[in-house]
């Protein structure tokens, strides 16, 4: 699509806003509708748009399949890491209230709850984003793109 100036310029202008909106949805998820899954899809949409307009080759340069693969697995690991951390600190699995506080010092459990939910939502975002991009590559590429 080398000759479609409006599309090319429009994509360039839109992309940062799409990414920003994804982050808005992500952090809004703590209080209202939104959250990691939706944010991950929107975040991936920016890359899909880029691939549609500038071609798969350019998109792969920006976002190599290997990175998408690592994101897909890494996000799950981050999610679970939060769960394990709260378990090692004496609470149940994913009990964020235990995330902070040293022995002897009472720490407000709501701090842990804030950080905990951000942590797992971030894990969800990274995984959904990685898997969405990987799915797009799988369908768009004629041959298999190896991680």
């Amino acid at each position: 699509m080398d000759d479609r100036v409006i599309l090319r310029v429009g994509t360039k202008i839109l992309s940062p806003f799409i990414l920003l909106f994804a982050l808005y949805v992500q952090f809004h998820g703590d209080f209202g509708p939104g959250g990691g899954f939706q944010a991950g899809v929107i975040f991936a949409a920016a890359f899909v748009l880029h691939a549609l307009v500038f071609g798969l080759g350019n998109a792969v340069k920006v976002m190599p399949p290997k990175v998408a693969y690592v994101c897909g697995a890494g996000g799950v690991a981050l999610y679970l890491a939060v769960g394990y951390l709260s378990m090692f600190r004496g609470g149940e699995f994913l009990n964020y209230s235990y995330l902070f506080g040293v022995y002897g010092y009472e720490h407000d459990p709501t701090h842990g709850q804030h950080i905990g939910i951000i942590g797992i939502e971030l894990g969800v975002l990274i995984t959904v984003f990685g898997v969405m991009v990987a799915l797009f590559y799988a369908f768009a590429g004629r041959r298999r793109i190896d991680p």
Binding site: A73, V76, A77, L80, E92, F93, N95, S97, P147
Partner: protein, 495 residues
């Protein structure tokens, strides 16, 4: 950490799955998978011992107690199923090392082991959770990983059979989630123990009793699709035939078993026996289907020319035995069903693993290609005969123990006809096992000298299961006493 064991049982394989995928190399990924599944196995044994000593264990995920949060609840029935899944998984992952190296291309090994870990995690999760929606989530984890593992088969038909399973499995999962949704609408709760109290209240109030009945129907159809009860079994033969040998051995022994457990959990814990069997007259539906499954599927198995396909149809028939046990609704019947869960897992696992050995050496499991294998691969065919004896139900094997309890349960209710059909099913198993044995032992092949015995990496796990099928056939007291207590817990009649 010991109070966290119920959660660790599920989340250790879950954490190691992305790790295996990130390592992206065959050897390390296998090591990670082995570590994860063996950890679950050891944990499962500990949990079973604790449940037997102290009664049901509950664990509040994230510190949120039951009706609001997600609760893991391990009673005797779930602990028993957890041991089945994790022990077969532990043996299956050892078997997978050699088998997968031969059948799956190198660059996909890490993803295979990640999928295997996720499958174990999903199946264990279904067994231990006490929350209806959580059941659905874990069901999807286990199903999605199963589809991808089946699709890795060498044969190109593996792709279509995985797709077929994907469609059927998704229909089943959708039915289950519709059922759960209807229950939630009527009761406002998703926790199983809470639902068990609220459903009778809604039912008796007379308002929305039809919704409860519809929810019950959706759940029944959804779960029976997943466990491949007779008319809903169409996905199973292809999926088992074309998937990699290691996957067939593992899946045949675990995934349908967990679905049978789920069926019992829904019928007896969530809805209660009285509702399921008296108001909904479940036995009138399940028993005929189970009997038809035993007869028709054994008959179909006799006419197969591919041994994996033969064993797959035999699996559908064996699911019939388990459901038959459940459909009696008595302690003895349900105990027979639970015993058969374990026994069938052991013997079918052994049989499919023996077929994996054959596949490894001669690259085919068609009956006519197995001529003379009794001489060329004596240990492999010995394992097949061992598993086959169990399938038929010869005394001193686990198959006999299952049939014994099943026939006893049938006779206790005076159902001579049902007991006779169980016997006929055994005779039909004799025919299809003999078909293979005859070709392997009494026909000669030209290139006999060129075929070597399967490697030890495959034989040792296979023989572990064969040995278990004899051990628990002789020492049947352990499994049957656990199964009877599990059945009593499910029915709520504590001794």
């Amino acid at each position: 950490m010991s109070q966290n064991l119920p959660a660790l049982l599920v989340v250790v394989p879950m954490l190691l799955a992305p790790l295996a995928a990130l390592l992206n190399r065959s050897g390390p990924a296998w090591a990670v998978a082995t570590a994860g599944i063996w950890f679950s196995f050891v944990t499962a044994i500990q949990l079973l011992q604790r449940v037997m000593a102290e009664g049901a264990i509950t664990y509040a995920m994230g510190g949120w107690a039951a009706p609001i949060g997600i609760e893991l609840r391990i009673d005797l029935a779930s602990a028993f199923v957890v041991v089945i899944v994790s022990s077969i998984g532990a043996i299956g992952v050892l078997y997978a090392r050699t088998s997968v190296a031969a059948e799956i291309s190198e660059d996909r090994h890490a993803l295979f082991y990640a999928a295997l870990l996720l499958n174990v995690c999903g199946l264990l999760g279904i067994s231990v959770t006490g929350d209806m929606f959580n059941v659905f989530v874990f069901l999807e984890i286990s199903s999605l990983s199963a589809y991808s593992m089946i699709a890795l088969g060498q044969d190109r038909r593996a792709l279509t059979s995985a797709f077929q399973y994907l469609i059927m499995g998704s229909v089943g999962a959708t039915f289950i989630v519709i059922g759960i949704g209807l229950l939630w609408v009527m009761t406002g709760s998703l926790a199983m123990m809470d639902l068990a109290e609220r459903i009778p209240m809604v039912w008796e109030s007379g308002q929305g009793d039809r919704t409860i009945a519809v929810a019950f129907t959706f759940l029944t159809v959804g779960v029976t699709l997943k466990l491949a009860l007779f008319p809903l079994h169409l996905w199973l033969p292809n999926a088992y035939t074309y998937s990699p040998s290691a996957v067939t051995g593992y899946m045949a022994a675990t995934s349908t078993k967990v679905s049978v457990y789920l069926l019992m959990r829904f019928f007896f814990t969530v809805f209660g026996k009285e509702f399921s069997f008296e108001q909904m007259q479940l036995d009138m539906v399940l028993m005929p289907l189970a009997l038809v499954a035993i007869l028709a599927m054994s008959l179909v198995a006799i006419y197969q020319t591919n041994v994996k396909r033969l064993l797959a149809f035999s699996s559908v028939a064996q699911v019939g035995y388990m459901v038959l046990g459940i459909s009696f609704g008595s302690v003895l019947g349900i105990a027979a069903g639970i015993i058969h869960l374990f026994n069938h897992a052991v013997m079918k696992g052994a049989l499919f693993m023996a077929m994996g050995c054959v596949m490894y050496r001669i690259g085919s499991v068609r009956i006519e290609d197995m001529k003379g294998l009794g001489k060329a691969m004596p240990w492999t065919m010995g394992a097949f005969v061992g598993g086959g004896l169990s399938m038929i139900g010869v005394p001193l094997t686990v198959g006999f123990v299952s049939k014994w309890y099943l026939v006893q349960a049938a006779l206790a209710e005076g159902r001579w006809f049902v007991a006779a059909i169980v016997m006929v099913g055994s005779l039909m198993a004799l025919i299809y096992v003999w078909k293979v044995v005859e070709v392997a032992y009494f026909q000669r092949r030209e290139d006999e000298a060129e075929i070597r015995e399967a490697p030890l990496g495959l034989l040792i796990p296979t023989y572990a299961l064969v040995a278990a099928s004899f051990w628990f056939g002789i020492d049947a007291g352990t499994t049957s006493s656990v199964a009877i207590s599990a059945a009593e817990t499910l029915l709520g009649v504590m001794p």
